[in-house]
């Protein structure tokens, strides 16, 4: 099994990762490794800067990434200031972030690249934790189409412990917490989830469920590859089903997950289908 610490720098497209770090050296090393991995995967690497300008970033990144200058000329690596991707008139702008990343995806497709590998310096949000956490939660929906991988670098020297905990728990993936992957589905609308869900990433799961609450028609949660869900997160799923029309929510899952749902009385509000059932 791949150790989490290294795999967070080599994420799958669709992964949204919170990566805390200590000190400049660790930040630069991880940026270098991430870039090399993104290039190897033939994705468009987008480095979104805040603490350092793009020029300064280029200066320390070049020795860490062989062929960086050529890669930039060829459009394989882009180094952008977050002022241009995240903010409009000094205000955090979610729509602008969506547009910036979608545009990067369009450019990636034109260049025959497999998706976008984004590394973001999260220091843009230091001092505005509530807004940043809400933003990170809102962007989770971008990852459901699985063309984008993003690693958000959180400086432990800048973020207080509880601010960091809140930020990481709203990311589906972070070291030392349960690891969740997901994909949006359609016809019927819903979600496919795999990995684990517990208290540590429950807020991330909550942000995905929030979008399904108002979905008209049937919603199917395909949890057939979900290894574990804790009771509290199963309750959250049930509350979502309760907010929806009766009979409009179903879950496909393994026996162990079905047992948790039955124990908490969830099967009164959603159809629980075991994997392998007809």
């Amino acid at each position: 099994m791949v150790h989490v610490a290294s795999s967070v720098l080599d994420p799958d497209l669709g992964d949204h990762v919170c990566l805390p770090f200590d000190g400049e050296r660790e930040r630069r090393t991880t940026t270098g490794l991430f870039t090399v991995n993104g290039l190897r995967r033939r994705t468009k690497v987008v480095i979104i800067t805040h603490a350092d300008s793009p020029e300064r970033t280029r200066g320390w990144l070049a020795p860490l990434v062989p062929g960086l200058a050529d890669a930039e000329s060829a459009g394989q690596v882009e180094i952008l200031d977050c002022a241009g991707t995240h903010f409009t008139g000094g205000r955090l702008d979610l729509e602008r972030v969506y547009a910036s990343l979608s545009d990067a995806h369009a450019r990636a497709r034109k260049h025959g690249q497999h998706g976008v590998y984004a590394l973001i310096d999260a220091s843009w949000g230091a001092g505005a934790t509530g807004e940043q956490v809400a933003f990170e939660a809102a962007t989770n929906e971008l990852f459901g189409e699985r063309w984008l991988a993003a690693v958000c670098q959180y400086d432990r020297g800048l973020f207080a412990r509880d601010a960091l905990d809140r930020a990481s728990s709203v990311h589906p993936i972070s070291p030392e917490q349960a690891l969740l992957r997901f994909a949006g589905t359609s016809e019927p609308a819903g979600l496919r989830v795999w990995g684990d869900i517990d208290l540590t990433n429950r807020p991330a799961f909550a942000s995905l469920l929030a979008r399904l609450e108002k979905e008209p028609g049937e919603v199917v949660i395909d949890a057939s590859e979900l290894d574990f869900i804790d009771a509290g997160s199963a309750r959250l799923l049930t509350v979502t089903a309760m907010a929806r029309p009766r009979g409009a929510t179903s879950v496909v899952c393994r026996d162990s997950i079905a047992r948790v749902l039955r124990l908490i009385g969830a099967d009164e509000f959603m159809t629980v289908r075991r994997v392998g059932d007809a």
Binding site: L199, F228, A231, M242, V260, L263, G265, A266
Partner: protein
């Protein structure tokens, strides 16, 4: 897995933020002991061991554990709580 998660979550959330976990196997049972140095279970906790009526919103970690485990022993006081439980190894 579920029981370990529920009991350790209790230790972290209600038992002072951290605890100790011991795991061992004996025969066909896998045993787990979780202890913390928190303020102890709240008064009336034994009432929480009754099955809930319908869907319930509150944490019911102890009750869930009692539903999925073969044995459960709870020792709790103002200096801490220890929950010992066992399930058949699958």
């Amino acid at each position: 897995m579920l029981a370990v998660n529920e009991i350790t979550t209790n230790a972290v959330l209600h038992g002072g933020g951290h605890g100790r976990l011991r795991l061992w196997s004996h025969g066909e049972l896998l045993w787990c002991e979780v202890s913390d140095e928190g303020p102890g279970l709240p008064a009336g906790w034994m009432g929480d061991m009754r099955p809930p009526a319908g869907f319930d919103f509150r944490g019911r970690g102890l009750w869930l554990t009692s539903m999925v485990c073969e044995h459960i022993t709870i020792v709790s006081g103002p200096a801490g709580t220890t929950v010992t439980f066992a399930a058949v190894r699958e």
